[in-house]
Symmetry: C2
Subunit: 139 residues, 2 copies
DNA sequence: TTTGTTTTGTTATGTTATCACATCCGCACA
DNA sequence: TGTGCGGATGTGATAACATAACAAAACAAA
């Protein structure tokens, strides 16, 4: 799935769900999609800055919050970074495989990890699943 | 497993592996164990500070690095916090269930998540697996 | 005791994230 | 047309998290 398709898909998804993909938010999404690897909030900020002098940290963090809630972007917890979700709206339930050499992230949907050993009565609302290692090309 | 047992166990583990559990590191481990929930680095710092005025951020981060490497402590990525590992040396391979109400963490060993959908050729060296929700008591 | 290594102290700074309040903009409705 | 409302963005400040770089001390091996 290429950059343009992902963006179109995001538009459609937002239209359908009533989420407001404003120009600023779209711009941030675009930057995340283009990065094609986990990108830092302050890197996004400096890129936005080139076109919009008024961008400040809250600008980018707010946009990212929106995008994460809309299921368009994932936060990579162990990297304090963000990646585009290749499938709009599947933002929750993702399992990430992160190559520590080339930094590329492969997202696997529907790979809900076995919760066989889940503590009794525990009700999971959100899972962070990130596997780090080397991808095929980088070994 | 109670606090004292965990500390004894940690001592034994370090003796066996040749890791040097110095007074400072032991003190930090003690604080993490006592907390019985994820603790922040700066909270540890302010607790150490009461006895050791010279404690600075690197003091606690270095001790934590050591403890994590020794498999005595886990970093909870999505919280920027740290928890004691109830089983010395099993520090890698852990799956954490974190109650967002009472903040308590239950660690499950040996619950390696299915990697059935792992990208071909990907070699995992480290996994971050954190489930957030409500524990039985807090529902 | 000398030497090399590890640990700890110390200052400074880098990086990540949020708060609080002001302003703007689109929209519904009088 | 204007007025009020709510969501989005602008703005300045600061909080929270983490590391770099170098100095001093502790310690163990030779």
């Amino acid at each position: 799935m290429n950059e343009q398709d992902i963006l179109k898909d995001a538009e459609r998804h937002c239209t359908k769900t009533g989420a407001r993909l404003t120009p600023l938010r779209r711009r941030v999404l675009e930057l995340v999609v283009r990065a094609d690897a986990p990108v830092k909030a302050y890197d996004l900020l400096s890129q936005i800055d080139r076109s919009n002098t008024s961008a400040k940290p809250p600008t980018v963090y707010r946009a990212l919050d929106f995008l994460i809630n809309a299921g368009l972007v994932h936060r990579v917890e162990a990297l304090n970074a963000f990646v585009a979700c290749p499938q709009a709206g599947h933002g929750h339930a993702a399992v990430l495989y992160i190559c520590e050499v080339c930094t590329k992230v492969t997202e696997v949907q529907g790979a809900r990890p076995g919760q066989e050993h889940k503590p009794e009565g525990f009700c999971v609302t959100r899972s962070v699943i990130e596997h780090y290692g080397q991808c095929m090309n980088c070994r």
